[in-house]
Every structure is written in structure tokens, then in C-alpha cells.
Symmetry: C2
Subunit: 158 residues, 2 copies
């Protein structure tokens, strides 16, 4: 690590920006979770459903799903087990690589997705998207993109 003497403290502006970002992240996740609760889904459940429903044949390899949802393999494995028990997803083995498994969206999972998605979108709009002007949203995306890239490049095995 660097020695501390050459690290400037955060200015007031910086502190406020940082705190605000933190607060928004956390409050937003909480709110989305609340809004999903009536449908018996968590944010994590929902994200899995999104990824699978957008995928070819509504199926993805466990590894790929772990990567795209930014979860550890272990966590994903448990998560899929729970969703399997809930009937939303099933595991199917992979012919081309016998180590591998697919997570596949069941019909019930697909139906759930179609039913819940509009409400979730409404929630995202209400608590995030619609609170920006289109220009601000675009500016947000533009300035956040390099941060995402930076972080993706640094992330280890999770």
C-alpha cells in the first residue's frame, strides 16, 4: 500500500458526493427489495431471472451467470438451489463439458418474470430513473462508465 502522507483528505465537495453516492446505493437497493417483496422475490432472485430470460434458450452456464451477476460461484450455487426449490429455475447438465451445468429458466420462472418485470421497472423508474433529467442521466452514465471499467479490471475472484 501507499504510505499515508501523500494521500490528500477528501474535500467537502468530495465528501458530499461520496456520501450521497453511498446513501443512494443503499437506500435504493432497500427500496427495490421492498417493492419486490409482495411478489416473493429478492433483488438477487430478480437479477438471476433477468439474466436467464435474456439469454439464448433461457439458459446460462453457472460460471457465466456468476460473472454477469458479480457473485461468487459458491453464492450463486446456493442461490440457484433456493430458486430451484422455489421452482423458478432448474439445473441441466452440459454435454460439451461434463463439469459444467446450465441454469435454465422454468416455465414458472418465465411466467414470474413476465408478471413481475413491469412492476419492477415501475419501481426503478419511480425511485431512480425518473428523478433525473435525460441529460443528467446521460451524464451520470458517461461519468460512471469508466469507474465501472476500472473496477471490473481490478476485481479478483470475488
Amino acid at each position: 500500500m501507499t504510505t499515508d502522507s501523500d494521500t490528500p483528505w477528501l474535500t467537502d465537495q468530495e465528501q458530499r458526493a461520496w456520501r450521497t453516492h453511498l446513501d443512494v446505493s443503499r437506500l435504493l437497493m432497500h427500496q427495490l427489495e421492498r417493492d419486490l417483496q409482495p411478489f416473493g422475490l429478492t433483488n438477487n432472485d430478480y437479477e438471476i431471472l433477468v439474466n436467464l430470460s435474456e439469454a439464448e434458450d433461457r439458459r446460462l452456464r453457472m460460471s457465466d451467470l456468476a460473472t454477469s451477476t458479480l457473485q461468487s460461484k459458491s453464492r450463486l450455487s446456493h442461490q440457484i438451489t433456493r430458486m430451484e426449490n422455489a421452482g423458478l429455475v432448474r439445473r441441466e447438465s452440459c454435454e460439451s463439458d461434463r463439469r459444467g451445468l446450465y441454469a435454465v429458466l422454468t416455465d414458472e420462472g418465465w411466467d414470474t418474470m413476465r408478471r413481475v418485470a413491469p412492476h419492477h421497472v415501475a419501481s426503478v423508474r419511480k425511485h431512480f430513473i425518473d428523478l433525473f433529467t435525460p441529460e443528467d442521466l446521460e451524464a451520470l452514465r458517461t461519468s460512471l462508465t469508466p469507474v465501472a471499467e476500472h473496477l471490473r479490471s481490478k476485481r479478483g475472484s470475488l
Copy 2:
């Protein structure tokens, strides 16, 4: 809830902004957690330390601490128990309201804070602050502030 027919789907721009925000939140928290790990602290630990070290007499009521860290009372209670076992914090009873308790920073907690803070600040700079121009950071803060307010106003008891 609103019926679904009147909720417009997210545009491409919106989707990208939204996904980017999500990714940054998660990746960032992960990275900060990693950077804190060598010092034996979690993000949660650190935030408690910050709040206490900035407070009058380095102490706060459990409720206030829960509010300012956006955690449930239950979760905070567990968190403080762990930190108490780690010697960073202690509980002290409150004279003016005998239901109440203070969480108080111990000397060890204070020392830990002084030792770790520069590294954490460096980490926040490296992975977030310094990746924006000052103008972008200010724009970020400005556009995120109403979102934070909106969400704070809606949050229930956690």
C-alpha cells in the same frame, strides 16, 4: 400498485445508466471491502467508526447510530456486539433515558480509526473520486441529491 399497462419500459439509454449505476455500487463496495480487509475491518465496521469518531464525545445513541448508518436496530445491535468483542467500541448506559444506550468508541477504536482512515481515503480516491473530473463529481452530487432525499423520505423502519 399501479397497473402495468401504463409503465413505459426503460430505453436503451436508461437501461445502460441503470446497469452502470448498479455495477458501480456493487463493485465499489467489494473493492473497498477488499482494501479494508488487511486491517481486519469490514465496511460496516468502518462506517461505525467514522460515525462515532465524528460524534460529540465519540459516542452516539444506538438509535441515532442506526439511523445515520441506515441499518435496522437489530442489525446494529449485532454489529456493535461484534465490535465490542473486538474491543473497538463499548456500550454505556444513558442516564437521561434509562432505556437508552450509548455506543462509545474505545481508545483502541480511536487508534484503529486514525491508523486505517488514510488508507481508506486513498482507496475511495483511487476507485471512485479521482476517476471523475471535479465538474463531473459535482454534477453527480447535484443530480444524486434529490434521489437520496426521495429515498430517505420513503424508507420505512428498515
